[in-house]
Amino acid sequence: MSFVTESTARWIALVATLADLCVALPLWWLFDPQTSQMQFTEHVAWITSPPIYYSLGLDGISLPLVLMTVGIMPLCVLASWNAVTTRVQGFMAMVLVMETTMVGVFVALDFVLFYVFWEAMLIPMYLLIGVWGGANRLYAAIKFFLYTLAGSMLLLVAILVLYYYGGHTFDILALSQGTYPASLQTWIFLAFFAAFAVKVPMFPFHTWLPDAHVEAPTAGSVILASILLKMGAYGFLRFSLPMLPDASRMFTPVMVVLSIIAIIYGAYMALAQVDLKKLIAYSSVSHMGFVTLGLFVLNQQGIEGAVLQMVNHGITTGGLFLCVGIIYERTHSRLIADNVGLASPMPQYATLLVIFALSSLGLPGTNSFVGEFLVLVGTFSWSKIATAVASLGIILAATYLLWMVQRVVFGVPTPHHLPKLRDLNPRELATLVPLVLLIFWIGLYPNPLMSRMHQSVTNTIASMSREKVAPTAHPSAGVITPLLVDSEEPLEIQGGSR
Amino acid sequence: MEQVFFFYFAVVIAATSVLVVALRNPIYSTLALLIMFFHVAGLYVTLHAEFLAAVQIIVYAGAILVLYLFVVMLLNLKQDVRYHRQWPMAAAVGVILVIEAVVLTAMKGWTTPAVAAGTETAIAGAGNTEAIGDVLYTTYLFPFEVASVILLVAMIGAIILAKKDIGEREA
């Protein structure tokens, strides 16, 4: 690795991420919003027995997420341009690997492929946190790693079980068409839940997140908050809902309750933080609570809101983390108390920070408002009480964010603590401004986004509401008989799981 | 008569094997094993395996056990013999296993197995040295060769392990 100098590495990474962005952006226009079908599909045989394909595709749900991913990544590279000084080559390599795997997760249409991407990001993320992170990075890294790994291990079992009960295929679309016995659905749902809920993270499984976010380098935090968390929600949306409708319905109350707990709890925890990153991390928990809430109220508005909120959260929280990173580069502290009154030395920075904060608390006109509003609308049709309680989260968000802004931006700085802080340089501006633009674009004119996801969400809802009776018959006929499979006889299913 | 011999041998074998395990002085254990080897050889004779009986004594008593004695004496082990702390447990397990094995074996007896169908040439009057040689060098030639390689390994291995100055060759 020594034959690549540090600056070369930075440039390579930047060029690569930008190239990705350039390749991905046309998809926005090439995408046909009228269909719920997968588009831009790739289907290449990968492993013959069992039949596993290198199968990719985009629909309205994954498109925004993919675009968000490729959009965020160059910003991450830029953000770590000077922040990362040790082992730059490795860092950039990890960032690029992360991008690969994250995009892969969003576009994979084969379950094993999905899982490979899903798992493969663990090591680079682990290293990002552990090598380039803060003081307590070792603990955070291993915690992140183990939490996510443990969850995803159960995912693998669920995938395998689905393979056998779903007609010996790993094709996600085919599996989504399949019907499964109710009890089996329950078990698989739980397995999925373990994987996705950790990733999101939902309430009882969130404890890795503050540690990881706080200890990760700026780019790591951005990746974590903006993209990684979405993968859990994406998993719920892509797999749990269409494949396991009965179980999803059954678990809806639980999920909603957990989501609301996450919203409130996250917000309360955020209130108590003195560390900027931790504050944002807990705000993420709260915001992701909205996403899961939207997903599991199981209606059009809720899900669309959730998807939108995923994107929004990616943008907004990413921006916030970038802001924290910028200030950390200057003051070497993330504590609110150490970064008071930045408005006068750094007016540009202060402005942007305020915008991100306002977006995060869901000010109308910013992106989060649209998302959260849709989620709440969806929730309202499911339960008014839930809506009311969840709305409390928004208020709390306003509290902690405004409090933060008040202190950081407008506070009275202690004299010894106010060196001549430089304002944003062009590079930093380049990282933040696109996000601001996105915030306002989505906040003011979400329709292009909504229209692109509409069909897919409708399709998801539709595939859920299909009357799926738990059949005992096995839909294995007609699929390719893999070499590995011994007999055509379906396995005896008793109680769905053994 | 046969019964008398069998029971004599059996009792002595069982007793000495217990002694091997129970005696505290390694030398006595070794000697108990020696007695056992002789009686096992005797048992082979009653089973018309005279050749094996002789080989048993030559190899076990004459070579293996002498090596043991040699080592025991070379290392001058007399005293330090203790049992594991978990010996009551082990003993209990052992006794249970013995009883179980005996009961199982006695209960089932030995029904005629379906060996006749086997491809092995059934040789009447087993125990014939010639027959052993014949089978050993035809049917079981391959294991025989493997066994010879095992001996080769053991030979060189023992030298490598026990020779004092082998490491110094490496300058």
Partner: protein
């Protein structure tokens, strides 16, 4: 039951005769060794007890018998007592399969008896090897139980030596076994009848004279190893007076000592018997048939056979003494090197060559 008791009685008589013969030979040997050694060293040997000292063995016996039995302090009494007995027994029971005379069977009350061999078992030679391999125990135990460093060292040396040379003994006789196709000493001896050129040391085929199957190398290996097995000079390292006082029986006295000594002589006799049976045709005369047959006394031919056998055995015994008179003791490492690097390859090569010749020119 009467048959059984009769058989037991016959066996008992045979054993008794055998043991007394052997012990007589041993007694003779103790004297003969000293006499011959003396003569070879221009001395006279024992002269005081009886005319020319011929009653010396008797006197020795009496003396040893009445001598105080000393058990060293710290010795393991049981083992200390067991060791000489073990040695003695082992030396004596080997004779059970030695054919002293021709393979005649007598019929007494429907009971077939082979008068000149106690047990003609089909694995006779293996039996002897097995018995010989036990011999080490007596020495080793004697050495160990004496609680004396000289004894222990002697015992350990003997263990190493006996194990090493046993191998050569075993390998040396394989050629003979290949030629005779039997493990029974009786059959092996019979296979060598018809003149000295049929003896395996010469190894002519039954219809010829040319020594195509000669076992002379095996014979030499056997003889040397036999000397080592019996702990005789030049291989008497276990005793090695000059370094180990008296080796493994340093602490022994009285009858126990006598046991050790007589066991050593008995095993010499045994080795001689085996060597005679395997390589020098056993009871066979070095010419076809027997003189008694030619002069018409077939019934007495066995006397001639026994005389020949005894002659051969005594020749070997003489050689033992002769060697002792001539050669110095080897050093321990020389002993081991000689056994493993010289005798063993020779024995192995002999087996291979014999196997080839037997394959090409079957008997």
């Amino acid at each position: 039951m009467t048959e059984l008791s009769l058989r037991l009685a016959v066996s008992f008589v045979q054993i008794l005769a055998e043991v007394s013969l052997v012990m007589l030979t041993v007694a003779i040997m103790t004297l003969a060794e000293r006499k011959v050694l003396g003569w070879m060293q221009d001395r006279m040997g024992p002269m005081e007890v009886g005319p020319y000292g011929i009653l010396q063995p008797l006197a020795d016996g009496v003396k040893l018998f009445f001598k105080e039995d000393i058990v060293p302090a710290g010795a393991n009494k049981a083992m200390f007592a067991l060791a000489p007995m073990l040695t003695m027994v082992v030396s004596l029971i080997g004779f059970a399969v030695i054919p002293f005379g021709p393979d005649i069977t007598l019929n007494i009350h429907g009971l077939t008896i082979k008068p000149f061999v106690i047990a003609d078992i089909n694995i006779g030679i293996l039996y002897i090897l097995a018995i010989a391999s036990i011999g080490a125990y007596g020495i080793i135990l004697g050495g160990w139980s004496s609680n004396s460093k000289y004894s222990l060292l002697g015992g350990l040396r003997s263990a190493a030596q006996v194990i090493s040379y046993e191998l050569n003994v075993g390998l040396a006789i394989v050629g003979v076994l290949l030629l005779s196709g039997s493990l029974s000493l009786v059959e092996i001896t019979e296979a060598q009848s018809g003149g000295f050129w049929h003896w395996f040391i010469w190894g002519a085929r039954p219809d010829g004279f040319f020594p195509i199957h000669t076992q002379i190398f095996a014979f030499v290996v056997f003889l040397i190893s036999g000397v080592a097995e019996t702990n005789r000079i030049t291989f008497d390292l276990p005793e090695a007076e000059s370094e180990l006082v008296a080796g493994f029986f340093t602490e022994y006295s009285g009858m126990k000592f006598a046991f050790f000594v007589s066991a050593e002589y008995a095993s010499m006799v045994l080795v001689s018997c085996v060597a005679a049976s395997l390589f020098l045709g056993g009871w066979n005369a070095p010419y076809p048939g027997t003189i008694f047959e030619y002069i018409g006394l077939e019934q007495l031919a066995w006397i001639e056979h026994i005389v020949w056998f005894a002659g051969k055995v005594y020749f070997f015994l003489f050689v033992f003494i002769w060697l002792r008179a001539t050669l110095p003791r080897l050093r321990y490492d020389q002993l081991m090197r000689f056994g493993w690097k010289v005798l063993l390859p020779i024995a192995l090569a002999n087996i291979i060559i014999t196997a080839i010749t037997v394959y090409l020119f079957p008997r």
